[in-house]
Symmetry: C2
Subunit: 266 residues, 2 copies
Amino acid sequence: MKRIKLTVAYDGTNYCGWQMQSNGITVQTVLNSALSEFLQEKIYTVGASRTDTGVHARGNVAVFDTRAQIPGNKIAFALNQRLPEDIRILGSQEVSPEFHPRFTSTIKTYEYKILNRTFSDPIRRKDSMFWYGKLNLKAMKKAAGYLMGTHDFKSFAAIKGTEGSTVRTIYATRLWKEEDMIHFQIQGNGFLYHMVRIITGTLLKIGQGSWPSEQICQILEARDRSRAGATARACGLTLLKIRYPEWEPDLRNRQNDKFKSISLNV
Amino acid sequence: MKRIKLTVAYDGTNYCGWQMQSNGITVQTVLNSALSEFLQEKIYTVGASRTDTGVHARGNVAVFDTRAQIPGNKIAFALNQRLPEDIRILGSQEVSPEFHPRFTSTIKTYEYKILNRTFSDPIRRKDSMFWYGKLNLKAMKKAAGYLMGTHDFKSFAAIKGTEGSTVRTIYATRLWKEEDMIHFQIQGNGFLYHMVRIITGTLLKIGQGSWPSEQICQILEARDRSRAGATARACGLTLLKIRYPEWEPDLRNRQNDKFKSISLNV
């Protein structure tokens, strides 16, 4: 038995998010079927990030156990032949059985893109959100900066679907405009349900001048979802990368007894 | 009666090209219907570039005549409400009746994008062509440079659909890589059927090392389609911009009698 880690990219437009569910096709469903057919055994993947309907990924992580003999790094090539073109495996590798994509410290990076011009662009409509009005980028950047550090992000979490601690650490935020596209990147140890989209909606309020940059601090303190901005559209959001600091750069050489094997069936 | 010029952007993925035809939905068909419904009269647009199935545009130009009273610059906003989100009017203006989008000297700029990395990217699969192998950009750039100037481009035109003179002038070519995306831009006074895609296919042959850069000169001289490379996929191609040097910057003020009104029904 060995454990395989996949780096997964997808155009989320046509999927009901990552997580398997009964009422719609998800990325995980398609991936499980392709893997099961390819490896000739029942495969169940565990994803690092349960991205929402319409959200994209350039580097989500999925892990599964298999009895197959194929070397871990060969799986990506073979699996891509069996996947639709809106899902691509960008890398595969064997990891030690202690590795679990969610019970391990992570650094996740998300990007939200806002196309800011007079008219929307048909070619870029599926991976960005269109915004007609003028935006004060300096004010948005300043507000984003206040989010850095460890805070209770309860105000920035959807009420439905949020359980347990709402404390998260944001390591970095970046916001810049390149031609007519505003890029907002945020890096942290984890994100609550809808968190990046609610933060983006709040930054848009600030960018429009409805609220001053400093209001984001009061919103944080309030721990009240109704104080923050609207949830920005899913299509503008992409999960860029997930890193596992404890496990890099030598994932494969850390099969020591410091870690216990963690079952994926949790 | 007045003449209106539209700047049109579209994601060509779901259209059988620009030009109206009986066996598939085209951008022109959709535009004509939306305009006719909006202006309450039968409208027939004439496009500057009859882009092919799957080819995109950020700045195609369409012109039509109307009796409507609405100011030319207001049409874009109103029309976008009636168009599907994969077609967008980026601007509208009244032009003099001598203006015809094809019987006027133009400077057209096309861009071909090649995603050059190990695995394809689901998010960028619809507006670029994926290429796995290594490419020598310096050799491709050098070859593209040989195309500048006035030449007979018969070798770079599809045999079907090419009529009349095959002489065109290329004003500029640019080729660069930004992260994993190769951008090839070409600017000229006009392009033959499939010309940019065949040039791209030829540059790929050179980039792979199958042919030296200089071979592009022999291909030009041969005036023989079979000597050039394959026609690169439509999805990588975007019509970026069309300029009308005789008419800019003061299109509206040139309604003098130097020009005769040109009927759009040709």
